[in-house]
Subunit: 377 residues, 2 copies
């Protein structure tokens, strides 16, 4: 089988990194002192191989390691275990790139809907010529009626997707049913009035034993999909839930930031681009540059690239969903950076823009339309 | 309800941290611009409150924030979402301490066995006067017969717990049954010969849909418990699996290291001590100082403290399981650092010590016994 190739940025001088690279290859594959494995055949079959070391800057080197492909004939959690399990506990090792062999594609899902699938079910028979406009229902603490009212107004104003904020969480199933049911109903009612389709996605959070029931409930009330935080819920569990029903699944980056250190962790595009797409999620929310969070423009664009680029074997593309403090004035930059293939997620700014969410939504939607030279919603 | 109090180390000057602390409190509770919530009653009910700021060093300040207790009336993933969800995506914020109100204890489990429970079922009618000796079956790539042979020899040599290495993973259930079944059988056979009880714990890894079946299989073949990596499997899912059967559950830190940055992330003792115990796990494996990983002695001792300290309400203590390159010569330091209340996890060094795992195990067990002035196993 073709090996899995992983490129790391490893701290240290050239001599130090030569030693560290070797140690990483052993740690991540067999985790024993070298003297324990005397058989060369066993070494060839199971131990990672350092293929290349090259300087990135004086004290950081790119290290490419090839691990036997069959070490990750497993769901995504084991890929992450292989790539960054034990060595996450060391210092100055950053995963830059993961190249998966074709032979492993059965273990990873592709988005069920992806960009094309979502585009086909929104608006008036599909929206293909502009980015989608999404919002988040908030704040936590608002009444169910207020949240449902926001969802209703957003749909009337021509918004495309309205999702629960990731901190809208109900411990009890009956509370979840009440809140989510009201929001789903409000959006369906608005859709009947407008004749176009806005999608409602509920936050999938709750006791682990109950997540399946909550998903089934979403189907029942006509929610289009759900928001999920894979780093909190677990990678394989997320993959399992995403494939369970024919529902749109959107990735939220809560808790993921622990891995995004400048010198240690996992590169932004691998963590928030490649990984959510391999989990079968249809869109990935991430903090856009210029908002409340410190991601650079380059980091954001690299995430979008992993979500959208052609893959071998071919997998559906997933939507980049830049978010985190986007304003009306940000639309121009977002249009320039992402083009049509994105979902612009505007939360607080929509609430701030005016007292009427319908008006705010229409204003944002028109700004998008004018940037892309298409008719407003 | 009593609030949840979280202490963060936040980077910046005193003036900067005052602003940042305020922003953190809003981000983690309601995530909207302040102008959106005009009602003071709603602010009081849902927004986090900065209670204290004090300098730790010139550019780092300790910030204590009180979040409404009902924000985490949920399984552990939502506690982490509240404490470090979105702000994980910022820089230089480190969770130092989480104080949970009593009222939330129903949402968290206590270890089913804990230190006392494990002590009661090992050895010849219990082992109470010394640390336990544990090992890991490895390397990946070794035949099932070889792995079962190691488990058998370790049990004959008087070892206490033998667990699969965390990278022993079988994609297919029949492979899992074969390998795990053989190891469980080998240990049971050795136990019959010695008349004492060594515990075998299998690695619980596999397709998410299959984990329950794999657990049931462990019960069936007489395995005493399982190893699980909560950060890969997911926090709530781990909690769910740990409470499902009457099996000992041991936490592995794979992938957790992403959160352990010096200036950003989650403190070692919270991540690898407090959290596994709240998930209901009976022991927590972590890399000991002086081994292959860079944890300091202070960090290791703080992890042990969170696993063992009395809690209110009272919860069973869980075993600290220091590991990661422990040698025969390390036993003295480990004995000094951890005293009797630990599980010493020795992997590669046991394989290296001699060609006969039985002899190696006996040597390590005698070293422990002599340090604690008790009879050897």
């Amino acid at each position: 089988m073709t090996p899995i190739r992983v490129t790391y940025a490893v701290g240290g001088s050239a001599a130090e990194v030569r030693e560290r690279a070797h140690a990483i290859a052993w740690e991540q594959s067999v985790e024993v002192p070298e003297s324990v494995i005397v058989s060369q055949a066993l070494r060839d079959a199971v131990v990672g191989r350092v293929e290349d070391i090259s300087a990135l800057c004086p004290q950081v080197h790119a290290v490419q390691i090839a691990y036997p492909g069959d070490h990750a004939e497993m769901p995504p959690s084991q890929l992450m275990n292989l790539v960054f399990g034990n060595i996450s506990l060391l210092d100055t090792i950053r995963v830059l790139r993961i190249q998966l062999p074709h032979e492993l594609s059965a273990y990873y899902d592709e988005p069920q809907f992806g960009c094309e699938g979502i585009r086909g079910v929104v608006g008036d028979g599909g929206v293909y010529d502009r980015p989608l406009l999404a919002t988040a229902l908030k704040p936590k603490g608002a009444s169910t009626a207020d949240l449902a009212g926001l969802a209703y107004g957003f749909a009337l104003g021509g918004g495309d997707l309205v999702k629960d904020d990731h901190n809208l969480v109900d411990s009890r199933f009956d509370q979840y049913q009440r809140r989510v049911g009201a929001c789903a109903e409000a959006v369906l009612r608005a859709n009947e009035e407008t004749g176009r389709r806005t999608l409602y996605l509920a936050n999938l959070a709750g006791p682990s034993e109950e997540l399946d029931e909550r998903l089934a409930f979403l189907r029942e009330v006509g929610a289009a999909g759900f928001l999920i935080a894979p780093f909190l819920v677990g990678l394989d569990r997320t993959q399992e839930l995403a494939r369970r029903y024919s529902l749109i699944a959107v990735s939220h980056p809560a808790w993921a930031g622990g891995f995004l250190g400048r010198t240690h962790g996992i590169a932004h595009d691998v963590l928030l681009g490649q990984l959510p797409r391999l989990l079968g999620l249809d869109a990935s929310v991430f903090p856009n540059s210029g908002g409340r969070f410190g991601f650079t423009r380059g980091e954001c664009l690299s995430i979008a690239e992993r979500l959208l680029e052609p893959t071998e074997p071919s997998r559906r593309a997933a939507f980049p969903a830049p978010a985190g403090g986007m304003q009306l004035a940000s639309v121009a930059d977002m249009a320039r950076d992402y083009g049509t293939e994105a979902m612009f997620l505007v939360g607080g700014a929509l609430l701030q823009h005016s007292d009427d969410i319908r008006v705010s939504t229409r204003t944002f939607q028109q700004a998008i339309a004018s940037h892309f030279g298409v008719a407003g919603a």
